[in-house]
């Protein structure tokens, strides 16, 4: 039978915490940019200007059809070259974190935009008509009337997507960036304790995501009492 030996975990905690900070950093940037850019995409998609709605539809469908692993590989290939040229950086500067953040943000925007589009469409049509009747411009109507209501309906879905995103950040493993999972793997590999470290990583992800999704369920009940 396998003999467990958890002794390498306590000493590795500071290193694992550094990794967790990277995971959270990527999650946070991707959520913020994802919601902002996703809102713009959703508005473009619903707009009556054909080129805008076509662009948004193409963007969203492209990103949703390609595996995240592929998108990350693309960004690790392209972004460093692009940024190096743009800012005249030394080739070989470590841009993996920046690439990961940009990759996740652009990828998740596609998913956020679909949530937000559904949220905007869930606001009754009369609201927009009322705004026009009051003499508001399209921008004012969106900003002051439609989006606040839409976002209120969407909060649970947006948070659920953030939890999924947090889980997905483990995929930066493909670039050997030491996020929480990458850090756990490195420690396990170094100490020959991969079994314990992988189980530990799984348990930590489970506790965080389960707790977060429980909170989201509570929020949902509060916003939409059955």
């Amino acid at each position: 039978m396998y003999e467990f030996d958890w002794s390498s975990i306590p000493g590795a905690l500071p290193f694992l915490w550094e990794g967790m900070k990277i995971s959270l950093e990527i999650t946070l940037t991707a959520v913020i940019i994802g919601i902002v850019w996703g809102t713009l995409l959703a508005m473009m998609r619903l707009s009556s200007v054909k080129p805008l709605s076509l662009f948004a539809a193409g963007y969203v469908n492209l990103f949703r059809a390609v595996p995240l692993v592929m998108v990350l590989l693309w960004f690790f290939l392209i972004v460093p070259k692009f940024i190096e040229q743009l800012f005249g950086l030394q080739p070989g500067t470590d841009l993996r974190l920046t690439s990961a953040m940009i990759g996740f943000a652009l990828f998740e925007s596609a998913y956020y935009s679909e949530i937000i589009r559904a949220g905007i469409q869930s606001v009754p049509k009369g609201q927009m008509a009322a705004c026009s009747a009051l003499g508001m411009t399209y921008g004012q109507a969106m900003r002051l009337v439609i989006l606040p209501q839409a976002f209120r309906n969407m909060v649970p879905l947006l948070l659920t997507q953030a939890i999924i995103l947090f889980q997905d950040t483990s995929l930066v493993y493909v670039s050997a960036l030491a996020d929480f999972f990458g850090a756990a793997y490195k420690v396990g590999d170094r100490d020959g304790r991969l079994v314990e470290l992988l189980l530990f990583a799984g348990a930590v992800y489970f506790v965080i995501c389960f707790a977060a999704s429980t909170v989201v369920k509570r929020l949902q009940k509060k916003f939409h009492p059955a």
Binding site: L62, P67, V69, L77, S170, C209
Partner: protein
């Protein structure tokens, strides 16, 4: 940027000599499809079972099913994959574990990937099935029971035939997801599409062509699956419901 495009690279003989680089890609495509389809069949069967159990009146059964769903939904796919691939063989009884570790490495990678994708997806399928069952009017179940069906009979003859038809559209997106998620299996060395793409980059030094080809292959899979599922959706749509005839 002065990048030398060279699309002809796919027709050149590969480093292994007996194949072209296009052949590598096609073998990766085959692996992705074989893995995703086999995992999907398992995920459907398991997901249907767990989804039904979640609606069961027995607290223990539904609790067990809920725990199953929460477990597989709250751990990242990559971590689950590594646990199946690296951890499980260690925890097996020694004789079985050793025999397994001495088997063909490709078989080990494929089995771990298939089990991982199947269980991961089954939790999501279960949620869809449960939502489908719960979306049926209560009267259907009551009518079944009033006619003297036992509860299992009510499920078999009344609820499930309806629920399975209603959940086809949401299952389409899970079906698409399993193909996309299969790319994660490149991390344990399974030579599916994404892994072949990375290998192509290393061997041909033509990263853009390699990645574009792989991305297009995923897009094609996506379009094909959507086309086929549209047909299925159309066939099974329940008249009278949105999307029905």
């Amino acid at each position: 940027m002065n990048y030398q495009w060279h699309w002809g690279v796919f027709l050149q003989p590969s480093a292994s000599g007996d194949d072209t680089y296009l052949g590598w890609m096609l073998s990766g495509l085959k692996m992705t499809i074989a893995l995703s389809l086999s995992a999907w069949v398992l995920a459907l069967a398991l997901g249907a079972l767990v989804g039904v159990l979640r609606t069961a009146p027995n607290k223990w059964l539904s609790g067990l099913a809920t725990a199953y769903v929460e477990l597989f939904r709250n751990i990242p796919l990559l971590v689950q994959l590594f646990i199946w691939y690296f951890v499980l063989p260690e925890l097996l009884p020694e004789s079985i574990g050793n025999a397994y570790k001495q088997s063909n490495p490709m078989l080990q990678q494929f089995l771990a990937s298939m089990i991982c994708l199947a269980l991961f997806t089954s939790a999501r399928v279960a949620e869809q099935i449960r939502a489908g069952i719960n979306s049926l009017p209560k009267g259907q179940k009551n009518a079944g029971l009033a006619l003297g069906f036992t509860l299992p009979q009510t499920y078999r003859f009344v609820i499930l035939p309806m629920a399975f038809r209603l959940v086809v559209p949401p299952l389409t997106s899970e079906f698409l997801n399993i193909f996309k998620n299969s790319a994660v299996c490149s991390t344990i060395g399974l030579l599916e599409l994404a892994a072949q793409g990375r290998q192509l980059v290393d061997y041909t030094a033509q990263p853009y062509e390699s990645f574009i080809a792989v991305t297009v292959a995923y897009l094609l899979i996506n379009v094909t699956v959507m086309f086929l599922m549209r047909k299925v959706e159309h066939r099974v749509a329940v008249p009278g419901y949105l999307g029905g005839k």
